[in-house]
Subunit: 426 residues, 2 copies
Amino acid sequence: MLNELSFAEAAAAIERGDISSEQLVRDCLDRIEARDDDIKAWAYFDPELALAQARACDTAGERKGSLHGVPFGVKDIIATYDMPTGMGSPIYEGCRPGYDAACVALLRAAGAVILGKTVTVEFAGMAPPPTANPHNLACTPGGSSSGSGAAVADFMVPAAFGTQTAGSIHRPAAHCGVIGYKPTFDTFSIHGVWPAAQSLDTLGLLARSMDDIELLSAALVGRPTRLERSAVTAPRIAICKTHLWDIVKPETVEAIEIARETLAVKGAQVSELVLPDSFDELVAARDIISSYERARATAHEWFNHRDFLSPQLQRGVAKGFAWKYEEYTHAMTVGADRRRDLDALFNDFDAIIAPCTAGEAPPDRNSTGDHTHIGLWNLLHVPSYALPTHKGPNGMPVAIQIMGRHGADDALFDVAKWVLEQLVPA
Amino acid sequence: MLNELSFAEAAAAIERGDISSEQLVRDCLDRIEARDDDIKAWAYFDPELALAQARACDTAGERKGSLHGVPFGVKDIIATYDMPTGMGSPIYEGCRPGYDAACVALLRAAGAVILGKTVTVEFAGMAPPPTANPHNLACTPGGSSSGSGAAVADFMVPAAFGTQTAGSIHRPAAHCGVIGYKPTFDTFSIHGVWPAAQSLDTLGLLARSMDDIELLSAALVGRPTRLERSAVTAPRIAICKTHLWDIVKPETVEAIEIARETLAVKGAQVSELVLPDSFDELVAARDIISSYERARATAHEWFNHRDFLSPQLQRGVAKGFAWKYEEYTHAMTVGADRRRDLDALFNDFDAIIAPCTAGEAPPDRNSTGDHTHIGLWNLLHVPSYALPTHKGPNGMPVAIQIMGRHGADDALFDVAKWVLEQLVPA
């Protein structure tokens, strides 16, 4: 079925004239019809609206751009002019912002079909969403980009937007077994993306192939695609267990150890990175920054619609308003200082591999799992991928996390692609 | 008339019970009625809505907060749930976003009365607005926070929001003769503020007294007010002419020279700062970043409503889409590197004084004037004030600009207040 094509494969097949956008979108819609009553990955989709976009691509005199005719999923905290944007909250159910977020407008301009809106945790926070994990419906798909992770993993759409403030891209990517890409902070335009915490929020991608990340990133930042690259040889990779190593589960220990051994055998220069103790402060600092900024960003809802916020979010906002301003500014300084420190450490290697989630998806849907291991790096603003390389004891996906130098997204792409190819041969 | 009170004076008078919020708001509304046909500072105001807020304050059992009952102006790129938000563009004329921007919700929670929406240049850009300069109706008030500058200067409202991407707070402050405050980048929540360029946009304040800045900043970031401060003695002040000194006008040369002499006489440790040549790149780098990011932020309007964008904005967006991605990332690196350099330079002094605008307001309304001198510092993300300290040859206001260390807004406040008191004795 065409819905199993990756975004890049589908784009190429449409460009060659092998398939039409309508055929591809129909197969995606059929998959959604068959599965979404169980998965609940979609907050909104209108088959006729999707098909109309597909037919417009098929009958256009010329290709609109590099994404011509390929469907894409949009996390439901991202504004769309032709579909409601509900933020996963009853306060904004059915709301129509009246414009496209920058990222949506840019994908449309490059020819993408906006298939629909994927379920977000309420305001990209921590309350459990209705979405199930496609690998085991009893498990959480992770969050807050829950619908994007589940829809991409379940072959309902080849790729989708996620946003990350702590672990909201990489956690659903890891738990659903797809690739998560969080660019360097401030890379993609954030206009039209409802905020959680402005100095952490990063727009990124979930997909099933590294080439999809390249194709979509190029369209979003406005550069040529570089799918033909020179092969990476002997990348310098640091394994970093972090100070949180004691709380990872055996499947993550195994994933990191297998990665270390396999990559060394395949020719990587593998070393161990022990972060200075000062990096231990990052988890608490990120938590302070995130809740302080979220409280401000949620001021309108807090003061006017508090009863419509989940208990989890109410606790988070109350916590955020309780921080002293000095505690917040100190946390901001910790983040800035460690960013400088990490940049110097990156002189000695090309990428860092570290735990992603603690382990495979928790076996229930009462939470979206743990974001501590991801959040630590998110405060450092460096680009990162969740790479689904292993399986856990219950047969659920397990990911490793790989980080690059601030701003060096392009170099990290090459290393991450090489790593994934070594660990999960085609 | 009560509309001539500063924000802090009005807040204190209401707290003492000397005046009511309704009396104050009525005097502001009367001033608007009398003057705004000429000035055109307001994009929207509804006297009944403003008076209803004032009466709610007057009849409340207890004070809502430190801003209780005092009216405030909101630049019309900032979302308000009970008033339209038009962005200065026909595309969004009459639009109602359905929520309050974080900054508006926080001011309301502290008791402020939202008087109305002040005119913004189209999407906070460069096209001339309808607003006139209160000191001479033939002159531009500056922009893009044109209505905020004019309304505060003309005693229609004690203080108002501005936003700055190049010079959009300090230029109207300088040309209208009020205080402009641009905090360290990322200090106030930007949620609900329509973006121009996400790595430059900064929300700030225009007011007629330094104490107003303190009172409003404290409410926005959530800290106690510090109106009783220990006096500054012998601040270390660097005069920085910048590489743009050749293009400032005689009135700005005079303003800087008088500041240098007066502050030295009053006890400041005044030195000269010659920036390294590498700082010369900042003007071009800011221009690239601003137009590159604006193009992305304007993608929806560009691809769907291009004919409703002004010729100026169309040129700006076209320019922004034309930059190569590498040119943008290089410009971002220039900004980050100079920020590090400047932080090291700040070991030797407490504040830098530099030109603000080239000179007094241009004598027509075909442009909003020059932002080069301000934009240079804006890319450096440091906190800054426009201080209206002098008059030009046509009797129009002339400002100096004063910058502090990144994150040291509190220390800069003390120095800026001292400087203003020395140069413009009460």
